[in-house]
């Protein structure tokens, strides 16, 4: 018995210092293999007396358990160590740059158009479009702006023929004409799009964007106009309070006509919308002129309503702090990256207009 115990102690010592997995496996077969030391000891049990056998068997079993336990712990220990070393070796510098990311952007004008459409969609407007090339009638005459009207001077028009019959639309209002001519009242539309005037300086571009609005029904009055625009401006600028002023003005195609100013102030060199005692003109609107309704076969004694026209680029400039209108159309990669919007940033009512 003492022999076995000694063997056990020797092997425990050996195992304690051993760090090689192969050698541990060798020890395992030395002890428990076919002719292993412990295996052989078990074999001897058959040749001794029953009494002794009982005792020895019990001792052998406990030694066997102890050694096997030791071996498996050791193996685990070594394996863990080896895996740790391997993992340590595999370590990479995760601060190295990822594979190139190509970031696309949506132009501010498109983003603002989507914001505007989303807001008006909430109150039941649908989107209409019209062509960029218009005839003189839709752009002017049908809109109560006859040829000899001085209001035409306010629109520096690009013409496509010498008779001045074909032109690039100077505003989105001809979409009103087209929409009403092809349908029957009521009408409730907005029409965003490109517009053109032969005018070019720091604050004017020969092409810019407008959104037209038109709501015609039986009892639509100036109160509805005010309410609609008040709602729009508040939603668009994402402020709780907005200072807004309706001021009489003149457009040939609306009567009464108004221009709308919003309050602002300059704080730390930045424009803050909604507060302050300065006024900024942002749109023109009014009740659709009976002459216009007659021109598009809508009976003005039955139907009435309002129209408005808003400069999209200017709204975008105000909301997002862009100073130079010309830069919108200059395709400078730096500018587009800076002012562009993530394509997933889709303005919507439930998710919010902007981040």
């Amino acid at each position: 018995m003492s022999d076995i115990k000694k063997i056990k102690d020797d092997y425990i010592d050996k195992l304690n210092t051993e760090n090689n997995i192969e050698k541990v496996n060798n020890i395992k077969s030395e002890l428990f293999g076919k002719n292993g030391i412990i295996s052989n000891e078990f074999k001897k049990l058959g040749s001794i007396s029953v009494e002794e056998r009982k005792k020895l068997a019990s001792d052998l079993n406990s030694i066997k358990d102890e050694l096997q336990n030791k071996i498996s712990i050791k193996i685990q220990e070594i394996e863990t160590k080896e895996i740790n070393i391997k993992l340590e070796k595999e370590k990479i510098d995760v601060t190295l740059p990822e594979r190139n990311i190509e970031i696309g952007k949506i132009h501010p004008v498109s983003q603002v158009i989507d914001e505007i459409s989303s807001i008006f969609s909430e109150i039941g407007f649908s989107v209409e479009e019209g062509p960029d090339v218009e005839n003189e009638y839709n752009n002017f005459t049908a809109l109560n702006t006859p040829d000899n009207h001085p209001a035409r001077d306010m629109h520096d028009t690009f013409y496509l023929d010498n008779n001045k019959e074909l032109l690039l639309r100077t505003h989105t209002s001809p979409v009103q004409v087209r929409t009403m001519l092809k349908g029957k009242p009521p009408f409730k539309i907005i029409a965003p799009g490109r517009t053109y005037r032969s005018d070019s300086d720091q604050t004017h571009a020969p092409m810019f964007h407008q959104v037209e609005g038109l709501h015609i029904d039986k009892n639509i009055n100036m109160g509805h106009l005010k309410g609609c625009l008040n709602y729009f401006i508040k939603e668009f600028f994402e402020v709780d309070k907005i200072k807004m002023r309706f001021r009489p003005s003149h457009f040939p195609f609306t009567e009464p006509s108004a221009e709308v100013d919003i309050g602002y102030e300059i704080k730390n060199g930045k424009i803050v919308i909604g507060e302050g005692n300065k006024w900024l003109e942002i749109l023109g609107c009014g009740m659709v002129h009976p002459n216009v309704l007659k021109n598009v076969n809508v009976n003005p004694s039955k139907y009435q309503g309002y129209a408005f026209g808003i400069g999209i680029d200017r709204l975008g400039m105000l909301k997002y702090g862009i100073n130079d209108l010309r830069a919108f159309f200059e395709t400078d990669y730096r500018w587009l990256s800076h002012f562009g919007f993530d394509p997933l940033d889709v303005p919507s009512n439930y998710r919010g207009l902007s981040r």
Partner: protein, 802 residues
Amino acid sequence: MKFTVDWLKNHLDTKFNNNQIIDKLTNIGLEVESFESSTSELDTFIVAKIINAKTHPNADRLKLCDVDIGSDKTIEVVCGAPNAKNGLLTVYAPPGSIIPKNQMKLSVSKIRGVTSYGMLCSESELLLSNESDGIIELKNNKYANKIGEKYFKNTSEKVIDLSITPNRPDCLGVRGIARDLSAAGAGKLKINKKSNLKYRGNQNINVTIKKEKAQGCTIFGSCLIKGVTNKESPKWLKDKILSLGQKPISAIVDITNYVMFDLNRPLHAYDADKIDNEIIVRSSSKGESFEALDNKKYILENDMCVISDRSGVLGLGGIIGGTRSGTEYSTKNILLESAYFLPRSIRKTSKQLNIDTDAKFRFERGIDPLSIEEGLIKASELIKQICGGEISNLDVKKIENYKKTIINFDPFLFEKTTGFNVENKELIKILEKLGFNITKNKKILKLVVPSWRPDITQSIDIVEEIVRIKGYEHINTSDPVKTRLKPTLNYYQKLFHFLQRSVASKGYLETVTWSFTDSKINQLFKENDKEIPIVNPISSDLNVLRNSIFPNLIFYLKKNLDRGFKDISLFEIGPSFKGKNPGDQLTVIGAVRAGKVSRLSWNDKERIVDTFDVKKDVIKSLYEAGINKDDIIIDDRTPSYYHPGKSGGVYQNKKEKNAIAYFGEIHPNIIKKLDIKTEGLVIFEICLDYIKESKQKIKDSKSEYKFSDYQKSERDFAFIINKNFKSQELVNIIKSVDNKLIKSVRVFDVFEGENIPEGKKSIAVNVTIQSEEKTLNENDLDYINKLIISSVESKSGAKIRS
């Protein structure tokens, strides 16, 4: 329209202060552009303080002063005054100032080797006294906290500048503005004094208005003033003219101008002695000419309204007078004209000749036809008062009588339009103050429109007048009506929205460029479309509508390459024009990609962008926008601006004439012609209008969900095939062998060259085979394999590689 508050008060009794007047003007639709003093040369002189005065290094009698002028930094000024000392408050003139004494303009200069920025002034230099021994010493208690402020108070009266809308000619005169203000409760319109002018003799220059078809003049009033002494205007008149931003000329001219701005009544004064016998108002004949008061010679077309005498044209009626009959200081006798010209005629003539004058601006908008006498009287009185002379009887020739405009107005229209109610009493009061003559007929008001309001012709105009004067702040703010008549966006609008964001999400920056472009670049992309020139382009390099979306994109791509960017992805969604009629346009996405993929990547191999990069972008975008994957066919017919061998078209079905998209390399000739320096340039375009709307909504088009759990097998095949044989065909042949069993076919290798005969290529495909009914055994698979090989070989002429 400019005027001073003083001038306004000639016509308006008011207790309103300036700010109240300004607010009221804006509130009734007379928009105030500005309210400021006219600038003065003295504005630049400011209060300053000498912080440190030390001796000039090169001159004992000069001093070098650090001067605080109220800005962040002090200014260094060289000064010769003995009294310049630390802490002295004085007056500083910056470079650019004009010194009143000698009218010299200051500039930055070196004085004995030291730069001096402006100067410190003596009283004599500012013409305040003769004191020239030293610089001004300002009192500490008065000026210590005024450093940086103007030294001279601007005493000129503040000028109101209104932006008058084209419908309001009556407000192009101060009296009209006063009338509007009085209607809005800002005071009382003063009653014009009755004239006690004494007339002597007749206007004996005969005036004839010819009855012609195109006659642009309907009334011509005049009087003779004999024995005047023309001279410089008195100060009050000069001040008025100056406040308008105009230069005083002579008393007679200034008076006619003054009356024009006062009553909105243009007048013209002729030197009566220079008129040849008589005045004939007639239409011009082509080729007639005259020299106008702007010192330009005008050659006339037919049918322009001219004032002439027996010798020829004197001037263009209502637009500009001529030099031949102009008044001078030596003028003794004048003929004063007060006429009515038709807006249409004025507008046509001035456009043709490109003349813009204050008179033209007014006649074009419509002058009060009943103000002929009033104008003559007011001007004659002033001329008599300032220049003396005898005034003849007034002579008024007419070929047409003024017809009153009468409107029967139902006050209910007001509430119907504005949504709020104004008592009849108040409504009537407003209209009366605006000059309407009112008679009541039960509920209807019969309104005679004042002759100075040509803009008012129907009931809605009356509504506007009342609500404008009452104030827009009385309009309620009703909650928006949320009723919806139809969906916000139609199919193509949604497609626009999807594709726009889909392309952007592939790494492209969206841009917006002009709808017009340079014909020289456009020509490279226009294919068979007709060029669409703009008659009056903003510049010669933006002279045509773009026939394609690419000319501008390529132009700006080049600009960005020139800025030093190498890898650029840009796109635009917008119109391209096919003809010059409304609607001859397509909505197109154009995208360009230049440079390399994975440039300077530490772990990926960089490579030049190629056709299959843009093919992926375009196809994926189409999928994302809901175009059915199985409906897409690729073809190699593309427009001529693409590389003929490295570009493709995407069609929705075989019979379709128009591709929904193209992709590929741009033609090398174009790159060369436009001198674009980049490693690689690929483009794609999607034409939204050619995409066919799916008949089914997504809720109807989802098919039944089926899947197979039986084992699938993959087999690889390699075929030797003609080089020009399209892989798409090969894939289709294999798929058609058994549409049910063959789940997918993937091309995983293509090569030419070594071991492959000339004119041939090797294509390797991986085919996935799976049954929905059972696990296929070797026999089944062998059968399919053989079928695939035999089909491909017989249909394509390919040979399986062994």
